[in-house]
């Protein structure tokens, strides 16, 4: 069961809105598909990001790909633990493996409920 307290994107990210911040991570489906994560290139605090555009990249033992911003806004926090332990994303994608927090998030890309996301990945 994927957490139902958050929304999901077609790019296999999750967003959790809390107060004035949005926390972003990648889903268990993405982390399993990509394999063991060896490096994360995440935006720095204070950087302005644009919905739908690349905000960093992720490297696993099998591939490199972009991390897309699920909304426009300002990066208010980055999960610093991942610099030394990127495997946390594989081990705990919805908790310890969160990537960044966005302040004043707006212009969200298309978001899905957990049920809708389940349906999307089970059909792929």
């Amino acid at each position: 069961m994927r957490p139902s307290d958050r929304k999901y994107t077609k790019e296999h990210e999750w967003v959790l809105e809390e107060d004035d911040e949005v926390t972003v991570g990648i889903t268990d489906y993405a982390s399993e598909e990509l394999g063991d994560i060896v490096y994360l290139d995440l935006p720095e605090e204070g950087v302005t990001i644009t919905a739908g555009e690349s905000m960093g990249s992720i490297e696993t033992v099998k591939a490199v790909e972009e991390i897309y911003a699920p909304a426009s806004g300002e990066i208010s926090a980055v999960n610093g633990d991942l610099a030394d332990a990127p495997e946390k994303v594989n081990e705990s994608p919805y908790e310890d493996g969160w990537l960044v927090k966005i302040r004043d998030a707006a212009d969200f890309v298309e978001l899905m409920s957990s049920d809708e996301y389940d349906g999307m990945v089970s059909g792929s």
Binding site: G35, S57, T60, V61, A63, V64, E65
Partner: protein, 251 residues
Amino acid sequence: MGTVARRLRWWVDTPAPGAVNMQRDRALLQRAESEPDFDPCLRLYAWDPPALSLGFHQDDAEVDAGALAAAGFGLVRRPTGGAAVLHHREITYAVVARLGVEGLGRRVLEIHDAIARALSSSLIELGVDARRGGGGRPDGFACFSAAGGHEITVDGRKLVGSALRRTRHAFLQHGSLLTGPGHEQLPRYLRGERTRSEAGVESLRVRTITLDDLDAKDLDATEWGEAFARRLGEGLRTGVERAHDAEHPIG
């Protein structure tokens, strides 16, 4: 089910410096990303002069740029992940396609599997006893220090190393088929491994195998490219078309 490609195009490109080679691969990926009717393609190429390529996230501070320059070798960063490669005597390939093409798929493992099947069957057809790799991962900075499950080995030694970049709508998977010695000299151009470069060279030598070792030294890019493209085309269930060739053969 994916979209059946109209055709697979392949060609042997002009040997080029590292920066040009990686720019050509990036340009193909960008075209595939932006053009919905992009035909899957296979580009074969060589490096002139030889060059050290770093994985997308590798630290260039580990490279001894002075030693590379003194040897006349280039240095370039790949758009793909993975570890460093000294491209010396090898035939390099790049497969670029839209995600979701029938026979290549869109998931990381689907893409690697489809290409590994074509790699191994084309080499077997040409008399090389190629097998899928063993699920290892590089030990340190060098790509050829271990073979992943999607890579190609002979007698447990790595013959083809490959790496993937996936964008929103497309992918680039490129790799190196070792044709002769040279690649194993990589540790001589790395700072961190310099003090143990002899051991590092020997380690790469015993973990890898080349076409020279396999009495297949006459296999050139055109002959292999023809077989590789045909095997890829079979997987894609589409026809294969040879596109413009370079003026200079590579091998």
